[in-house]
Symmetry: C2
Subunit: 240 residues, 2 copies
């Protein structure tokens, strides 16, 4: 694959694809140090601005990382996760992905959250903020709300080493029936960037989950703000 | 809900939540014009920088839109779509969402795409770039690759008014069996921003789809780059 200045695709995107190919094909393994921006610019006959941009996109995608004063390196490839398995505790072993509890409180629902859980603003909610680690690096910021009436025995500390689902089912005997997950994206703000140890403005994956107990009663709402260099989520459907 | 300067949550985020509440609850309907940034800053006793940021986040989320020289307005609420239905042509009527064909060619596979489709670089691929419109506004940029050997009768113009799946099944009698969809996110580059009529740097949703025919043969790879103010995707699972 070579740079083609006649194509409508932007040059930096073409450079990005060439570099990404080398990572995906394994030609550049984990930890491989890239040439300098100047060298790459000369190699592909483009400006260093073009190279900078291609590298920044690959850093945002989690394919590359930078070490100040040293250079740019190829990241560890992230294992892909089937969202269905992650959600239904099929294969994911959450014990190896510890959470740090940043906040725990019980109080009245805010209007936005109350609406998602079909509650009035007078209902009490358990509110957790947790930071999820992978390989000792922050991977996701998780805001969770549980309906207090349905989980009066909820024990927040257990969620540092176990899934909320397991804690709720075991401590409060709640039967979980259905889950609905919305996808969106945000640019990291200073608060998120600081906690997740990334640059402000980095695009992040947002999963919003509402879990329903028997009789369709909403029991839990969580918002997961996820570093995409730490996650590779997919879903599968049969078409027949 | 009021601003609480003692909370660890950033002020702009608190303002954002207050404003979002008014939109979600319907207190502010579609087309409602917000007060000026100065007025909002005075109202919530925060700086105009804080208000600017809260508004920008809501513009990025598609809840608000700006008209130059006029002000900030509440957007039309986007209907939510179950990804399963969108993919399996269950309920989505794609005819009302026309596509504009930007590019069509047949040629050798690039390494990255070949790998996704389990092909060698010698195999021929049909390559389409399309722009999807909703209410006459660009909503998604779609790059598609089809295995030429499996769809020799493929007719690109049909995809301006029909789903690729339908065209493939009807023209080439290909039986589609399974689909796998990956989620990620990017910041709009100049090319994407220009085509999708948004600001550079706006976070976009990326869905990458690989479709398999009988015997598990990959037949199609598409990358959908989606304005999130034009999409609200979710999935549902039973947990029992």
């Amino acid at each position: 694959m070579e740079i083609n200045k006649d194509l409508p695709t932007p040059l930096y995107y073409q450079v990005q694809e060439i570099l990404e190919d080398k990572i995906i094909s394994g030609e550049w393994a984990e930890g491989y140090q890239l040439q300098t921006e100047k060298e790459l610019a000369k190699l592909y006959n483009v400006s260093t601005i073009t190279v900078k941009r291609a590298l920044q996109e690959l850093v945002n995608k989690g394919k590359l990382y930078r070490v100040r004063g040293k250079g740019t390196f190829v990241s560890k490839q992230v294992k892909e996760n089937n969202i269905f398995n992650v959600v239904t505790f099929g294969t994911e072993n959450e014990e190896v992905n510890p959470h740090k509890l940043l906040h725990y409180s019980i109080g009245k629902a805010e209007k936005t959250v109350a609406k998602k859980l079909d509650l009035s603003e007078r209902d009490q909610l358990i509110h957790l903020i947790r930071l999820k680690f992978e390989d000792e690096v922050p991977a996701a910021l998780e805001f969770s709300y549980l309906v207090y009436d349905l989980c009066p025995n909820f024990s927040p500390l257990l969620t540092e080493k176990d899934l909320i689902y397991n804690v709720v089912q075991e401590n409060d005997d709640v039967q979980l029936e259905k889950v609905k997950i919305h996808f969106s994206t945000i640019s990291a703000n200073d608060y998120e960037a600081d906690l997740l140890q990334i640059e402000e403005g980095t695009p992040l994956i947002v999963l919003e989950r509402v879990t329903y107990a028997d009789k369709g009663r909403p029991v839990e709402y969580s918002k997961f703000i996820i570093r995409q260099d730490k996650a590779n989520y997919y879903i599968e459907f049969n078409l027949k």
